[in-house]
Every structure is written in C-alpha cells, then in structure tokens.
Amino acid sequence: MRCSPNPVALFTPTASAVYRGVVIGAVVAVGAALCAPMIYIRTGYASGEGDPVEQPIEFDHRHHVRDDGIDCVYCHSTVETEAYAGIPSTERCMGCHGQVWPDSPETAPLRASWETHTPIRWKRINALPDYVYFHHGVHVQAGVACASCHGDVRNMARVSKAHDLSMKFCLDCHRSTQDSRAITHLTTCTTCHR
C-alpha cells in the first residue's frame, strides 16, 4: 500500500539539503572572510610592487646608469653618509644637461624648473611610514647594495617599487646578518621606531 505524504510535513528533502548546504557554507564563509585580508596584504597589488609611476620628467635610469655608467652616488650624493639618499637638485641635472640635450623636449621641464626657480615635484616610489626611521648611510656602510631594497633600478625605464618594504622585509634582512634570532641592536624596536 502507498503511504500518503504527511500533509503537515514541515520540510521537504530538498529543503533539508539546502539547509545543510547553507550551514556548512556559512562556516566556510566566515573562515574565508578572515583569511582574505591576510592574503590580500601579501599581494603586489596591495604594496604597489612593480607598477611604474609617471614622473614629471621622463627620467630613464637605464640611459644614465647602464648606458652612461653614472654611479648612483653622483646624483644621490648623501646616500653614503646621511639618512636621506638625496634627490639631485635641478642645478645638478643642469650641470650635465646644460650641454647634453640642451634643447631636447624631454629635458624641457628641467630647464623650466631652472629658469622659473621652481622645484621639480617627483613622485615618491619607495616610502616608509613616518614612524619608521631609515638611515641610508648606515646601510650603505654596512655593505647593503642599493638593489637589495630598490631592485634593479639600472634596468628600469620608469622606477617602480621592487619590494613591499614591510616590517617583515626589513627584519628578514636584519636577522640574516646574525646567526640567531635573538634580539640585537639590529632587531630591537628603537632601531627603526622612535
């Protein structure tokens, strides 16, 4: 004999399946929501790695460093001694470009800056938060190559960020110079935070 389905039955088999799906799905979703930002922050997109920024002047490091063989320090003159590497003044650029390419369109903004005595406003590529104090001089003195943070600038048409420059990035390098993970003058907080 056939059994008639219960007229007052609350749930159908489908409803049951859907419900189970929803419950399990909810649990998974919560987990995913927690992980998502941790993954995002590690992506180059978050840190802006490798996206070249348009500069007021189409300055190409390849010509100056690779082709003309100009040393980094010639322009970034305080990099070996001071906290700031030093961005060359218009005067310094004009030192060469007064004769070299004196009337090429690329260097027009440079000449304008020189004539109107208004500074060139470059876009900053590698920025650290203000509560981080970085001293170029000591790093260069310690034999850290420019490229280990700034990447292979000599082959960049437009400079782009080479590393995320996160605290972890700094710490990894600072730790690599010592054999243990113990706290030293290189890994204590006030090394960078004051």
Binding site: L10, F11, S16, Y19, V23, M38, I41, R42, D164, S166, M167, K168, L171
Partner: protein, 433 residues
C-alpha cells in the same frame, strides 16, 4: 505516565507561550532606550577618544575594567548551576532554572566582552591581541594577562553557548512539532537542526551534555582566576597578591547567584511558574549566596591580614589608611558582608522581598568591590608624588547603565521567543521519579 508527560509539556510550554503583553513591551522598550544610550556613549568614545571617560593617571583603568569584571562575575552562576550542579546531580532544583541562568551567563559575558575592546586607546587594533600572521612579524605577548583574558573569556563564552544550545535542541524540537503557527514551527525547526529524539541521538546527547558540563565546570573556576591575574601579576599595592583568584571566583559566584535570584523571582511571578521554580529552588540559591558571601568576607579579612603580616608599607597604608575610596569600601562591606547575614534565617530565605533586596545589595556591593580593587590601589601607588583622584564622567555612567539595558533587552527577547524552562529535562526527571 504519558499523561504526566503530556500535562507537564502542555502546562510549561503553555505558560512560556503566554505573551508578556503590555508589561513585557514596556520593559522591552525601556531596555531598548538604554541600549541606544550604550550605542551613543560608545560611539562618542570612539569619536573623541577615551579622554571622555574619567580615567587618568594614576587611575588608568577604572569604570570599563570594573564593569568588565562585574559582568564576567555575574556570568559565573549560570554555568556553575547548569554544569557543576549537573555533575553533582542536583537536578531536582537545578533543572528549573538551568536554562534561565545559562542564558544569563551568555548575555552577561556579551556585556563584559564589550569593555576590553572599547577601553583600548585604539580599539580598531584590538585584533592585535590574537596571533594572526601579520606582515610585521610581531606577535602578541602571552606573558601578559590580557591575552590570557582574551583566551579565557572567549573560551568560556563559546563553551557556554555550545552547552546551552545542546540543551536547547530537544525543546526546540518540541516547539517545531507543537508550536501553534506554521511559521513558528518552521523557524524552530531550522533551529532544532532536525532533532527527532531517536534513541541513538539521545545516547550521544547524554554523553555530549556530560562532556560539555565537565568542560564547563573547571572553566567556571578558571575564567575568573585568569581575570584576577590582570591584577595579581601587577605591582600595584592591593593588586599584587596570590589571594586574588579564589577571592575573585567566590565573589563572582556570589554576585552571579544574586543576579539569578533577581531574574528568577519576577520571571516565576509573571509567568505563573511558582510550581516549577519553587521556593526551594530560590532558597537553595540563597544558601549558596550566603556561603559564597562568607568566603568573600574571609577574602577581605585575609587581604588585610596579609597587608599587616607582610609589613609592606604601601599595602599597609592602603589597607588601613583613609582614602578617597574608603566610603566605597565601607559600603561594600555592608552590602557584601552584613546584608547576606539575614539569610541565616529561614523566614528571610523564604521571603521574596528580602531575597530581592539582599540580592540587589549584593550586586551593588560586588560592583563596589571591583571599584575598590581597581581604583584604590592605583590612586595610592608606591610614589606619593603620583597619588591622585578619580571621578567618573557622564559617559562612564551612560555605558554602565547602557550595558544593563542591553542585557535586559537580550534577556527579555529570550523569554519571549525561546523555551526558558528546559522542559525535556523536566520530563526526564518526571520519568525517573
């Protein structure tokens, strides 16, 4: 026998289903307003900074931490009753109020949980207290008592919820099958997750319930011991003592039972449940309140004895000197030590009015105790040059009142929509008799 079950079922569910009507709506509305006050006060705090509170140097902790400890303490009786009394097979007077008190626990912990977050200078970084893989390579410091707190409180909350929900399943199933309207039956059905009362489920249910009970029982003790270490690991006079954990736990259960009585008396009155939540139940609660009260009194005694015995100058002057907080101290003594003494009298334990008054006094007294513990030591630290005063602001009071309202709001909602008497457990008892 099945008549007995049927009568029990229809009677209790029937009374619980009884709509609160106007009184309920008014109470709910009032609590709603206070909840808005809470939201407002907290938003203002976030917007301006916790300078809008009365906290200062030296009293860098005050209302927020006091309220936190007070609410956590209240959260203790619930699990104590439902877990420890369950293990001690006190079901005859435990069952009728176990659901009420578990619920009270959960909602109290919700209130408590607000404070550790909102008292932070930068609450939006509260998650730094948890070990998540950040890109800074820095981790929480597990030698501090605050991560212990975070672990203890969240564990206690989770376990309490699981315990509570497991217990709810059979009753939710009953409502699924017997609630008046189809809509309700579907909703309760979703919550019941398909509980059918088959023998297999019952077998697993009994063991699971026992397991959760035996996990929750030590938690009751551990949570407030951990909370007390927020103070015990400190150098501050009046904080730095091994007495703290037992003293805190006793105080917590003390205030918890006070809150249970404060809630149970009106509930059984409005829902006409005197024959379920019997006088005997209340009396037993009163007795436990009396006992824990005595332990707390002993704690006060030992605190002072310790100060005297160690001869530590700071401790002594703190315990025996006169301070801005001394009034609070003596109020606390009269509420926590003197007031409960009337409960030695059977007639007092039987009188709802007396019980209510004593319980309210105890709740006040236990809040004052936390006030004295937190503020007094800070105001009278080792260096007299740094001694100061503390005065709460309107925002402080708003937040305290607000949490009371929010607690009431949740509790009233629970009474309205959930089986606040564990009928299936009552049935089980009935069958066993």
């Amino acid at each position: 026998m099945s008549e007995k079950l049927r009568d029990l079922h229809d009677d209790v569910f029937g009374r619980m289903r009884a709509r609160g009507g106007r009184q309920w709506r008014i109470a709910f509305g009032v609590c709603g307003l206070f909840t808005l006050l809470l939201v407002g006060s907290l938003s203002w705090t976030i917007y301006k900074g916790i300078g809008v509170w009365g906290t200062n140097m030296p009293a860098a902790w005050a209302f927020a931490i006091i309220n936190f400890v007070w609410w956590i303490g209240i959260g203790h009786a619930g699990t104590f009753i439902s877990a420890i009394l369950y293990l001690l097979e006190q079901n005859s007077w435990r069952n009728p109020i176990s659901r009420l008190t578990e619920t009270m626990t959960i909602f109290a912990v919700v209130q408590a949980g607000l404070f550790p977050i909102f008292h932070l200078g930068r609450p939006w970084f509260a998650y730094w207290l948890f070990p998540y893989p950040d890109i800074m390579g820095v981790w929480p410091n597990v030698k501090s008592a605050l991560p212990w707190d975070a672990a203890a409180v969240s564990t206690y909350f989770t376990v309490s919820v699981l315990f509570w929900f497991t217990g709810l399943l059979p009753d939710l199933a009953s409502l699924r099958d017997h609630a008046p309207t189809r809509r309700q039956r579907i909703l309760y059905g979703l919550l019941a997750m398909g509980w059918r009362g088959d023998a297999r489920s019952w077998r697993h249910y009994k063991v699971t319930y026992l397991m959760l009970a035996s996990i929750a029982a030590p938690l009751v003790i551990s949570v407030h011991s951990v909370v007390s270490s927020d103070f015990a690991i400190g150098l501050t006079p009046g904080w730095h003592t091994t007495l703290q954990p037992p003293y805190f736990v006793a105080g917590a259960i003390f205030s918890g039972f006070a809150m249970v009585i404060v809630l149970a008396i009106p509930v059984r009155f409005f829902y006409r449940l005197e024959h379920v939540i019997t006088d005997r139940v209340l009396e037993n609660c009163a007795k436990l309140m009396l006992i824990t009260g005595c332990i707390v009194a002993y704690g006060y005694m030992m605190e002072h004895f310790g100060a005297y015995y160690t001869g530590d100058a700071d401790e002594r002057s703190l315990m025996f000197g006169f301070h801005p907080t001394s009034i609070a101290f003596w109020m606390m003594i009269s509420c926590n030590v003197l007031a409960p003494q009337v409960l030695w009298l059977r007639r007092a334990r039987r009188s709802k009015v007396v019980l209510l008054i004593v319980s309210l006094l105890v709740l006040l007294g236990m809040w004052l105790e936390r006030y004295v513990i937190v503020v007094q030591g800070l105001l009278r630290d080792q260096l007299p040059s740094a001694w100061g005063n503390y005065m709460p602001t309107i925002v402080d009071l708003g937040i305290l009142a607000g949490t009371l309202g929010f607690f009431g709001l949740l509790f009233l909602a629970f009474l309205r929509f959930m089986p606040f008497i564990p009928v299936s457990e009552l049935k089980e008892e009935a069958v066993l008799e």
